[in-house]
């Protein structure tokens, strides 16, 4: 692989980054080639020592995604970061995707439970409209009470969700720092 091929492959794997970021990264590698060549190395030698441009690109994208999450932790940003970190290597498929699915399941079931409780009075009213003979005040108040419990669960879930997201982003950061990705088999 020569310099042009290396830079092109790298550039292709950076497609999802904003162009300013992308140009900056390409510039760094362009400089690396220039300095290496001025020291008498061939383009091929330099490219080989740098390693796989696609893997370098993936790592750049993962870093960028994690930065975005730290700025604004929206669900979309977290998902993109998880995806980018998983892309770093097969190992991450297991140690990132596994915990992520588990946490997502906890969060999802918590919200479904909370919302279900909140909606109980509505369901009860619908039920009474269909079968008016089953109406009792006891059931109505019980439904309203469940609705109140549901609101508390939802408030709790809001904090639990935020806390879990923050924790998981920390875990992703740790992952990018310590786990194989871009190191190749030198």
């Amino acid at each position: 692989m020569n310099k042009a091929q290396f830079l092109e492959k790298l550039d292709n794997s950076l497609k999802r980054l904003p162009s300013s970021e992308r140009e900056d990264i390409i510039q760094d590698f362009y400089e690396h080639f220039e300095v290496g060549m001025s020291e008498g190395k061939s383009e091929q030698e330099i490219a080989k020592a740098l390693g796989n441009p696609q893997q370098i690109g993936k790592e750049m994208v993962a870093n960028y995604r994690l930065e975005q999450v730290e700025e604004t932790a929206t669900t979309g940003n977290v998902l993109r970061a998880v995806w980018a970190v998983i892309g770093l290597g097969f190992f991450n498929l297991v140690i990132v995707l596994g915990p992520f699915i588990a946490l997502a399941a906890i969060v999802f079931s918590g919200w479904v439970g909370g919302l279900g409780f909140i909606l109980t009075p509505i369901l009860y009213v619908i039920n009474v409209v269909i079968y008016p003979e089953i109406f009792t005040f006891y059931d109505l108040f019980f439904a309203i009470m469940l609705s109140g419990v549901g609101i508390f669960i939802a408030i709790g879930m809001y904090y639990v969700t935020r806390w879990l997201m923050k924790g998981f982003v920390k875990y992703l950061n740790f992952n990018v720092r310590m786990v194989k990705g871009g190191m190749g088999n030198a």
């Binding site: 990264i25 510039q27 760094d28 590698f29 362009y30 400089e31 690396h32 220039e34 300095v35 290496g36 001025s38 020592a49 740098l50 390693g51 796989n52 441009p53 893997q55 370098i56 790592e59 750049m60 870093n63 930065e67 990018v176 720092r177 310590m178 786990v179 194989k180 990705g181 871009g182 190191m183 190749g184 088999n185 030198a186």
Partner: protein, 107 residues
Amino acid sequence: MNVQFKKGVLELCVLVLLDKQDRYGYELVQKISDQIAISEGSVYPLLRRLTKEGYFTTYLKESSEGPSRKYYALTEEGRTYLGDLLADWEKFTNGVNQLIKEGVRDE
């Protein structure tokens, strides 16, 4: 050497190299790969991350040969971080060395 392990240590290597003087990317990469076998390209994502985290600043400087080069300089924050990492590293290697010594003695 184990790949996971190397990646964690790379951060420390880069910070140490910038402690005494500012350096450009190629120079950093060469210094490290002279001592440790790495995929040289993996140093650049690390440099970007540490720069964005505020541990380095960068500036361009003209060179007598070829285009101007991007130099990396350690910030105060970076120096503090390096101090922490070095302390951790020493504790860790002392521990491992002690275990190795004891292991050898037992046999």
